[in-house]
């Protein structure tokens, strides 16, 4: 799951970024409105955490531009503006959620997860496929009630595949969802992670569509 943090205060952006990374998200940071539009135009983010007061194009203009371009990306506005008018305007412009600063970090993380969950075709906090059950809130994976110990990245890949259950997910799509813009690794690293996942959750869960990508199916 890849998240864009649009925040012009560098310290706050860094804190949000490292917290999201610990949750298994791939995180990009944008400091200006223009930056947000450029990045959102090239990467299919799973969520954008958007500040309103940004230099250049402000957050609300960014949001309306995104929606005008038909981008359905879930947007969580995270701003110091706490006026009722601001909240209503933000939500009417197409924001999916609105939080004011200061905030509890855990709440932001929970809301980001909720946004991603609602946007996925399987909007339940618990996902299951075959013998595998994923609790996306606790970020735990069980196979026949035994906990499977996964790294953050393995978990992210498994969750992505399960959320898109029944469709083939290409290697580049997986790559875009689990790596941020600063990471530059070989694309076969995905195959390495999938191999390791198969060892942990069992060989019958993830199927390979040769030349296309991977598929999870009941």
């Amino acid at each position: 799951m890849r998240v864009l943090v649009a925040e012009d205060e560098p310290d706050l952006a860094r804190t949000l970024g490292k917290a999201l990374i610990e949750e298994g998200f791939a995180v990009d940071v944008a400091r200006t409105g223009h930056d947000v539009l450029t990045k959102a135009g090239s990467v299919p983010y799973d969520t954008i955490v958007l500040d309103i007061m940004m230099p250049g194009i402000d957050g609300l203009s960014v949001l309306s531009t995104l929606r005008k371009n038909g981008d359905p990306v879930p947007v969580l506005i995270l701003t110091a503006r706490d006026g009722l008018d601001d909240k209503i305007r933000g939500l009417n412009l197409g924001a999916d959620d609105y939080m004011t600063k200061p905030f509890a970090l855990a709440e932001v993380l929970a809301r980001v997860r909720a946004l991603i969950r609602r946007a996925s075709p399987e909007p339940m906090p618990e996902l299951s496929v075959g013998p595998i059950v994923i609790d996306t809130g606790a970020r735990t994976v069980r196979r026949e009630s035994a906990i499977v110990d996964l790294t953050a990245r393995e978990y992210a890949i498994l969750e992505l595949l399960v959320r898109r259950k029944g469709t083939v997910v290409t290697r580049s799509a997986i790559y875009e969802h689990v790596y941020d813009e600063h990471e530059d690794t070989l694309s076969n690293v995905i195959d390495v992670f999938v191999a390791s996942l198969r060892r942990k959750v069992g060989p019958d869960v993830i199927r390979t569509r040769r030349g296309h990508g991977y598929l999870v199916d009941d």
Partner: protein, 479 residues
């Protein structure tokens, strides 16, 4: 709410009574005019009728006198012409006469009811329903009179007609006056309405002004200007509060989020250190923000304490530049000072802050390899400090607002997101509190020059007396 309602009714009843009062005055005036006109018309009519009757009576008196002839052996003989006899028999005029001899004895009378103890004096008078004249002619005294009920009746009808016209006229005038007063007072109601909406907090309320040259139009225009000012001031205040809360919330949010992150699980020493450093930066930013806001608030209320020492401006500038050299080096910006010994009257700590703010701006919004040149000189009665940088410059449309609180150019926000936009406002307030000024000239993308003018002191002073307190330091948010 109920007291507001009562107040409303008070305003309404006041307007109504104003309308009524106008109307009462108007009605009074109309009635007075009608009464004067009516009285004049009646008086003129009376005079004209009486003059005609008197002429008739005098003529008749002559003919009566000439009809009296003395009889030989005493006594008089009265022999009226047939025309005169006919006259005295007129049933409508009912004339009467009496004639006295020069000796004072009654010669003749038309009616035994005419009784006079003495011979009457010459006169023309009205007695009840009669008009009579007394003339002396050929030694005789002739009294002659007639009934004037017809004149009285005529005057009475005239009065009734006049009064009817007057009543109709006053009624019409009242109706017209009520309408006109309402029309004239309509702007007052509009003003009242707008003022009420304004008082209720609708700052966009304005009075519709139809004709600006009327007195009420002028009032409305003046009120609209006042309303505009009020709205602008409220807008400024609201923007200031919004900016201040945004600027304070951002570091608070950073600290809480960072602490939340650090407490989520066990961290290693380096991670805790990083978190504490983040919190340090955020709290330093809050401190400088609070200090700036406090200084501005004090300056606004005239409570900014400014010492009036004689100080060496060149020394203060030199110390500020030395203090900021590490920051300048970190940003690859060179600093140069060209200073001659100049003294001013002022507060060394505050002036240090002023100069530091300008220098920090010059360094922060500069290009890599750029320069900040500071120049201190005396110009007439002023100590002048010039801070010139080779930075990003300020757009001409942003130039008039740069000393406003929280006003930051787009490029400045992109360059230094940590800046709050108070530095120049603080510099401006400090200069103003010293009786000086700060001015700015800039070329976008090339350079910016700030010129500070402070009242110069008469004589230079030794270097020591202008040392600033040790507690002053480089702003943490930029260091």
């Amino acid at each position: 709410m109920s007291s507001e309602l009562a107040e409303d009714m008070g305003i309404w009843s006041m307007i109504d009574s104003l309308r009524l009062r106008l109307l009462a005055w108007f009605a009074g005036l109309v009635m007075l005019v009608v009464a004067i006109v009516g009285a004049t018309v009646c008086w003129m009519t009376w005079r004209s009728r009486v003059a005609t009757i008197d002429a008739e009576l005098y003529a008749r008196a002559g003919s009566v006198a000439s009809a009296v002839r003395p009889v030989v052996g005493g006594g008089f003989d009265v022999e009226l012409t047939s025309e005169a006899t006919a006259y005295f028999q007129s049933p409508t005029r009912r004339p009467y006469y009496a004639v006295w001899s020069a000796a004072g004895s009654l010669v003749d009378r038309s009616d035994p009811d005419i009784v006079h103890a003495r011979v009457p004096a010459e006169a023309a008078r009205t007695r009840g329903n009669s008009r009579e004249v007394v003339v002396r002619s050929r030694g005789l005294t002739v009294l002659i009179g007639r009934d004037i009920s017809d004149v009285w009746n005529e005057l009475w009808s005239l009065s009734i007609i006049m009064m009817s016209v007057a009543v109709a006229g006053v009624a019409a005038a009242l109706a017209g006056g009520w309408f006109l007063a309402g029309r004239a007072l309509a702007p007052v109601q509009r003003i009242n309405e707008a003022a009420r909406r304004m008082a209720e907090g609708d700052l966009t309320a304005r009075i519709e002004v139809e004709r600006t040259e009327t007195e009420l139009g002028q009032v409305a225009k003046a009120l609209n200007v006042a309303f505009d000012r009020q709205q602008q001031s409220m807008d400024r205040q609201r923007r200031f509060s919004a900016d201040a809360s945004h600027q304070l919330r951002t570091p608070v949010a950073t600290m809480i989020a960072e602490v939340d992150w650090a407490l989520r699980r066990e961290r290693d020493g380096a991670q805790y250190r990083e978190s504490l450093e983040t919190c340090r930066r955020a709290s330093a930013r809050m401190q400088s923000l609070v200090d700036g806001l406090l200084l501005l608030a004090r300056a606004d209320s005239g409570e900014l304490a400014i010492r009036r020492d004689t100080i060496r401006v060149d020394r203060i500038v030199g110390e500020a530049v030395d203090m900021l050299r590490p920051l300048a080096q970190a940003r690859d910006v060179s600093c140069s000072v060209a200073a001659s010994a100049v003294s001013a009257v002022g507060d060394a700590d505050r002036l240090h802050e002023l100069v530091t703010n300008l220098l920090v701006n010059g360094i922060a919004y500069n290009r890599t390899g750029g320069a900040v040149a500071v120049d201190v000189a005396r110009d007439g009665g002023w100590a002048v400090v010039r801070v010139r940088d080779t930075g990003i410059g300020i757009a001409p449309e942003e130039l008039p607002r740069i000393f406003d609180r929280f006003s930051r150019g787009e490029s400045a926000r992109e360059r230094e997101p940590a800046g709050a936009g108070l530095g120049l406002a603080v510099a401006h307030s400090i200069a103003a509190a010293h009786g000086g000024s700060v001015a700015c000239a800039s070329e976008l993308g090339a350079s910016t020059e700030f010129v500070v003018r402070l009242p110069a002191a008469a004589a230079p002073v030794p270097a020591d007396s202008s040392r600033v307190s040790a507690s002053l330091s480089v702003p943490q948010s930029l260091a």
